[in-house]
Symmetry: C3
Subunit: 315 residues, 3 copies
């Protein structure tokens, strides 16, 4: 497996996954995981220990990882969601020291969300236990989110090649669209429409990667121009804590009934959540809205699949 999975055994960034691994190993395994949830759990990871270290809170992502571990029979032996504010991080300790110490306790896997830099990468350099990146910053990635997004799209369309997708909103601070863009670079004929105000456009590192991998992208400011054209509208959260304000006068960045009217019947609306008001609630019950349903399901299945692959590869 190592040939398909460059960062093995760590999960750091979306670029590390190969197309073969995604299609032949990852996606089939997520389907298998559904049976374990229906059976209300299994003992596959009995005796395995997860440490969950969140330097920035995320109820949803943390819950998804920890319940994935539980469904597989593993244990979350330590968990904190304010590692930054309330731990020795505040006393000035480096991430390197923290990971060296935690590894002495011999956990089987460490999940980290970091708030300042590419924390998972720094952590992985000194960690014997596999490190799973649950989101980092500046510019930031969220590789397991990209995997679950990919699965959501794949399950609806049956393929990724040829996908036309609009990514909408704050594309500078949105680490999920960054990771998803990297992942889509593994496929053929993908076309991305980046719909954002001029001040929150996708950064050059992603664009350069897409250029190298033959992915066409277009930047625009009005979602209405492409709503009819695309297979997926991927809306992102206005990162209020990053100071982002989406000003209506700058363009059209909201998914609302007028957008639904433009969309084709098989186009889906995605969002990494939490949603504020960039998708109006009257969209929620439309069958094309998958952010409160398929995407959430894929999140749990994706984390289960990854944990299974890393902690019980032979089974």
């Amino acid at each position: 497996m190592s040939s398909h999975f460059d960062g093995w055994p760590h999960i750091i960034e979306a670029q590390q996954f190969s197309r073969d691994w995604l299609e032949q190993e990852f996606l089939p395994l997520t389907d298998e995981m559904e049976g374990i949830i229906s059976a209300r759990g299994c003992k596959m990871l009995e005796g395995k220990r997860m440490v969950s270290l969140f330097y920035q809170p995320s109820t949803r992502t943390r819950m998804s990882f920890e319940m994935a571990m539980d469904y597989l029979g593993g244990s979350v032996v330590f968990s904190t969601e304010n590692a930054r504010e309330f731990s020795s991080a505040k006393k000035g300790e480096t991430l390197r020291d923290t990971f060296l110490v935690i590894n002495r306790y011999r956990p089987d896997v460490i999940v980290i969300r970091y708030d300042k830099e590419i924390g998972a990468k720094f952590a992985a350099e000194v960690s014997r236990a596999p490190v799973l990146n649950a989101g980092d910053r500046e510019p930031g990635q969220h590789p397991t989110q990209a995997l679950l997004d990919l699965r959501t799209i794949f399950k609806r369309r049956g393929a990724i090649d040829g996908l036309r997708i609009a990514m909408v909103g704050d594309l500078v601070n949105g680490r999920t669209v960054r990771s998803l863009s990297y992942l889509l670079g593994k496929f053929n004929g993908v076309r991305i429409f980046y719909v954002s105000p001029p001040n929150t456009r996708m950064l050059g590192d992603v664009k350069e990667y897409l250029g190298r991998h033959g992915v066409e992208y277009t930047e625009l400011t009005d979602l209405r121009e492409v709503a009819e054209l695309v297979d997926v509208i991927y809306q992102t959260r206005a990162q209020l804590e990053c100071g982002t304000v989406l000003n209506k006068s700058d363009g059209y960045f909201v998914v609302d009934p007028p957008i639904l009217d433009l969309m084709r019947k098989d186009t889906i609306v995605m969002h990494p959540l939490p949603r504020v008001d960039e998708i109006t609630t009257d969209v929620d019950n439309d069958p094309r809205a998958v952010y409160l349903t398929d995407q959430v399901d894929s999140g749990l299945l994706t984390r289960m699949a990854l944990l299974k692959m890393i902690l019980a590869p032979g089974e």
Copy 2:
């Protein structure tokens, strides 16, 4: 059971319980739970998963729910005590989205403490998993506290009919006295004395309910006037975080040795805890003080009984 238990399977407010359910199902079951604690636990809820979501901290209530789950053999698969401050709630997500998402992970029960409104009710509207209200606000209820209070009184007196009870302190912000009042409305011949400063009197919704259910109540400002008369003095916490100050010049609202001297031998002193100084510590060792003993025990037994009823109704 559904006929006796209107909110089934959710536990939202004290009004939902019928007298029959309280007397014939709930109270006997709490006694059975004592044997499980003595046996240091059982496996009745093995494989069942609780999510514990506190938007407002409460060490005691959260511990009580989580230990109840553990004694029954169930698992707390996710727990947070600062869901408001440190979760996506801060990013503006609605409770509805949060509960829709959590339900996709298929927990067996969700415990929620909410700080702003009738959160448990809103949550229950979209939740497939049973929702247990661990306290909410404005005006607020705390139904499991009311149940444990009822049990505490019942175990000491053998009956609730004819009870005379003084509820003392901040009756506006005290959700426990609100829920207990509703519960007492199910019984006959109950008389309530609301002892509070004029600015923290019991709200009209409770009084109107009591009127409809034939419960007599009196409002006064001096606990000494009724200390001799009542079976129960239910003291509440000065809600300092709500800005409540109990001014001595407004009346007599403290339980202290002079009050003990007035009380009959079989009158009990209750308090939902935490206690600040509205009961002086020299009352603690009086055999009539039950707030650090019987009430705490009933709290664990009550949550165990509810979890058993909801998650293993047939056993």
Copy 3:
């Protein structure tokens, strides 16, 4: 065992351990614990329940206690790392009430870190469940840290008698050096060099104890003067949150390559962690640096040994 172990079953302060207990019971048991980690856990404490109550955060210490419990097969049924900020402590409740209540839930052991006073001692006065002090304040002790420090030294030297040790840095606020000093008072021929700025010298209570127990100590301000002489350099953290600043003009308090050059080959460098910059990172890979390796290992083994002794003394 009670004759060797004065505080039994509580672990409150380093003075409570006897030399016999340390040498004949504690140290051999820590070695046994290594086999349990290699075997990836055991069921020795199955059904035992730990409550972990941190009034001051400490990722490392809390993780160490909770993983120790897990390796032995016990459960952490409740854990919080911000008991002060986010619990009823904020509402003014006393530690006494808190411990009376928690004990009604019948946990098997309670771990407490307290931020204001000798919390563990006050807690132990009312607690039926054994209380383990995970650090307290004013002036403060950290007895399990002292035990792990003792083990670290013992494993490197084979004995404690005759030890020459330099304790460096903020000796007023460093509870670990206080507890370790008390523990060394149990042995013969120990000589301590307290290296600190004049304003953060070791307090009188420890010095008085050392005097009574025949431990020689010297106070100085330049680590270079004794680096060659000692068997152990025990560096402590500048307690930034206590306002401590170690001014270079006051002396020499940093462990860096010039200090390494002075040290003998078998002298070790210890630190309770987290480290800020009082040990430069270029010391980390020196084989004499044990703070990221041996000390961390001894921490887990020490907590496992204590939990085993307290919760499964016969096995």
